[in-house]
């Protein structure tokens, strides 16, 4: 856990329970590991982990429906931390285990960014936060949170076209910053 959650708390504190932080992190990490363990047969259209965590917490009574928007906004940030930690952990294991790097040579245009690009992406996203905080949040909600454009518009209280435009700007910024080799 790092300063990201601090920022999040500052931004949207009064609604969420104080102990949510630790619980949410553990839950998302657990869900992520479970899902990644099934990677080969992973269902592509399954609900995002943030949605899953929300349903679970709601059933446990740990959170209220009215807190839904705040929860999603917060959970996307936590998810980002989970992912970064997970990737760092994996990389440490890889250094020991010598698992070969994956190279993808296919005819399909482009490849999804690999695990190794996620940390640089995280850093580029921090730069974007300084230049255009809202588009930075769109990325966080969409890419890390797995939320759709309507949900994001709702959370940020803007229109869907604005979300689309912010997404496009942010994506270009990040693509440029990452210098994806061609």
């Amino acid at each position: 856990m790092d300063k990201l959650t601090e920022i999040a708390k500052g931004a949207d504190d009064s609604v969420l329970p104080a102990d949510l932080d630790g619980k949410l992190y553990s839950e998302l990490m657990r869900l992520a590991r479970a899902q990644l363990a099934r990677a080969g047969t992973m269902s592509l259209d399954a609900p995002s982990l943030v949605h899953e965590a929300y349903l679970r917490f709601q059933r446990q009574g740990a959170i209220q429906s009215v807190q839904r928007k705040a929860f999603f906004a917060y959970a996307a940030q936590v998810m980002r931390s989970v992912v970064i930690d997970y990737v760092r952990e994996r990389r440490a294991q890889k250094r020991g285990g010598g698992e070969p790097m994956l190279t993808l040579t296919t005819g399909i245009p482009g490849v999804g960014i690999g695990e190794d690009a996620i940390e640089p992406l995280h850093e580029a996203l921090q730069s974007l936060a300084l230049i255009d905080p809202r588009s930075h949040r769109v990325v966080e909600l969409r890419y890390f949170g797995g939320l759709d454009e309507a949900e994001i518009a709702d959370i940020l209280d803007v229109s869907v076209p604005t979300v689309k435009r912010d997404w496009r700007k942010a994506r270009a910024f990040l693509f440029d910053a990452l210098g994806v080799p061609c």
Binding site: Y86, T106, I108, P109, G110, I131, C182
Partner: protein, 954 residues
Amino acid sequence: MSRQRADFDVTRNAFELFAQWLELDAPERTQLLEHVAQRDDSLHQRVLALIAADRGADETAFLADSVLLDIAATHAPPADSDPGDRRVGAWVLERSIGTGGMGQVWLARRSDGQHGGVAAIKMLRVAVADAYANARFAQEGRILAQLAHPHIAMLLDAGFSADGQRFLVLEYVDGEPIDRWCDARRLELDARLIIFLQVCAAVAHAHAHLIVHRDLKPSNILVLADGNAKLLDFGVAKLIEHAATEPVTVDASAALTPGYAAPEQITGAPITTATDVHALGAILCRLLAGHAAFGSERSTPAQLARAVVDDEPRRLTDFGADIDIAAIATARGTTPERLRRALRGDLEVIVAKALKKIPGQRYASVQALADDVHRHLEYRPIAARADSRAYRARRFMRRHWLPLGAAGLLMLVVIISATLIAAQARQTAREARATLAVKNFLFGLFTAVDPNEARGREISARELLDRGRERVEADAHGDPALKAELRATLGRIYGQLGLYTEAVELQRHAIAALKSTSSMPVLLVRTEIEYANSLREQGDLKGADAAVADAQQHLQVSPDSGVEERIRVLSAKAKIEISRRDFAAAKRYADASVALGGASPVDAALQAESTWTKASAEWGLKSLDSAEADYREALRLMTLAHGADSPLVGMLHGNLALIMRSQSNYAQALVEGETGLAIAQRALGPKHPSIAIDHANLGLTHYHLGHYRQARELLEQASDVQRSGVGIDSPARAGFLINLGLVLIEIPDLDAAEKAFAESLRIWQGKYGREFPGSLVARAGLGRVHLLQGRLDQAQAELGEVQASEVKRGVRDDASILYDLGELHRARHDPLAAVTLDREALERARQNTGERSRYSALAHYYLGLALRDSGDAVGAESELRAALAAFSYIPDAAHPWAATTRLELSRLLAKRTGTQDEVRRLLADALAIRERFFGADDPRTLEVRNELAARSAN
């Protein structure tokens, strides 16, 4: 700190400008960018980078999936993927062979077990199946469905799976990216160019269907183990017709792989076929020079995008400090120095033209680019090159890598080059590579000669061939297929040099080897046909028949052989029949070969050769009009195949000149001869050695017409050009000097004629001895000069020796030695001996050249004078009239010798009564001719004028 601050400000400003740019329409966008460019260069570049990134992100579906899917994709290596029992239509997914932002590619097998039913199935991921991705995926299917080309991965099937996933079934390409494939095999530049031409063909095919690929790059071009390239991924291809009707906006999402993108893809200008030409230029740069056309290996996409828009492409030969040229050269089977040399010139120009910033300045089409690559491979001048004579001449010299110097050699090398290339077009990749190896072998052989030591180049060519043959025979461990092809090629060259014994030997070995490997069926058929030609030239017509029959048989069982081999077989049969003097049969075969070529799209050069053979058969049948028509058709085709500047075209004009001579149409022969000369001069410049033969031929036509001054000028030029180009001892020069001597006798300038004959004799005697036919002709020329100078003893010795030698060798083709001897006897007041010799001369001349010819006419003339001197005035008159009739091969017998004949006839008639009118008419005609040929003030003209005045006064 302040510097970081400044960087940050630029980044933020750029981001804000980019955000503005997104909101604008196309013209406003251009305006904005221009404005920024004027204000701040680094800011402009940053904005361009963001625009490039926007497209790059779009095209690569950057961040299209959620983060867990990206991690999951990394987790699950394709090879480990277990598709379970997944079926898609008639296909069973076996394993994942690739993953991308848009979806996944699977290796699949037909569930019904049909033979060979392996395919690659591309599935669109449901998670990213938004409307845009769906539309693009569907578009790819539509586009691929239109394309059927051996170098494009074929679409086999398309549809939706049971769970609603869109899929495309594609030909499975088990290959390597083109650059890695070439490097792994250490392919030389020429072989790389041949594979590149396959890619051009595929792209040109797409363009013909109005499809622009937009994402050409090495990783999209896989090469199979057999050397066949396959173009993949039309995922971002676009139909041009849309671009034509609606302006392409940036939102149309052109492809972007910055290293291979065109400037218009980054700035948002319209995308056309020229965009693919640019990408092909970048790929060619990578294939040939091993480095990127823009940026370096470490450039970020943003840097690359900026370089593509702003920087000049890196020259092929510009290997910066960051590039390991030694490794690049090794991967091309050469040394850094040689690689630089090979890349310099044409290839640099071709790549630079493809990579022009402005689409309109690039090659107008992929075909135009491919044509230039093709021309380079044939050592022909490329179109992109400045149209300079010096450049074309250099190309010519390189293409015809045999040392030049004689017409026969010139023809030989042109034909080799033409046939090699014609064959390559249909060869398998295996054969094409072997052919290149052969070409390189020969090229090395022939360029190894120091031009300074290459005197008497015909001989050095022979020595080089022998050297090559020894090298091939000594290499016992070489690749047998390559050895067979080397033998076949050397055999072809020996054959075309007229060295048939060596040719037959090499071709026989080559055929035996090719029969046992059976991997090069096209070459086998070709070599059998060439073997037949060699046997035919040796006079073994039955052997030639058998060889052609073998070729025909292999042709029938070889699926790779095509219509071109069938044409060659028919042509070979026609040539055999020509040798048999069965011109009717020859014409039947030649007609068939021409008809076959006319019915199929064959190489114009091949069709030109068939038509050329047909014309020769017609010449044999004395159908001069048909022959002329066919020579003209061959001329047209040859011009089509090799351009109007080709020396082969010049040679055909020369053949037409010969036809015209046969038709006694000297005026037209002059026109054709001059055309041929002009072509040769345009192509090669006035100083080129091969120009000499054209000068000489034209000079000889003038000689036959009695234009001695022009003839002298042309033959002197021929001799000079030959001397400066080839050397003072050039045998061709010796031949020109003989002709010059004959002209100088007529001028008359007997001293100069003597020098010319003496020089010619020196050259030939030094090379081949006194009994060589050329030496004998020179000696006879000296004899005639001495006869005319009144040095009768010397003339008698010389002419007598030459005649004795001819009698000994049974040579009967020279009438002039006999009437020269006759004149000697007449000068010695022995007209009866002269009559005997002149009658023999006349008989010989009629046999050799027919009644209406210079030699028969002169024999009649000298016989007339001998009869007159022996007291037979009637016989003399009859012979002189016969001479005039024989001179009528020129209209109105307007020849200086016919004027002299008229003068002698008038003197003979003047002794009789009642002939005054005819005498005056003969003198008037003679005067007109001498005035025309020698001028009004020449003593010979004055002589006739005085006689005419005296006769008229009587």
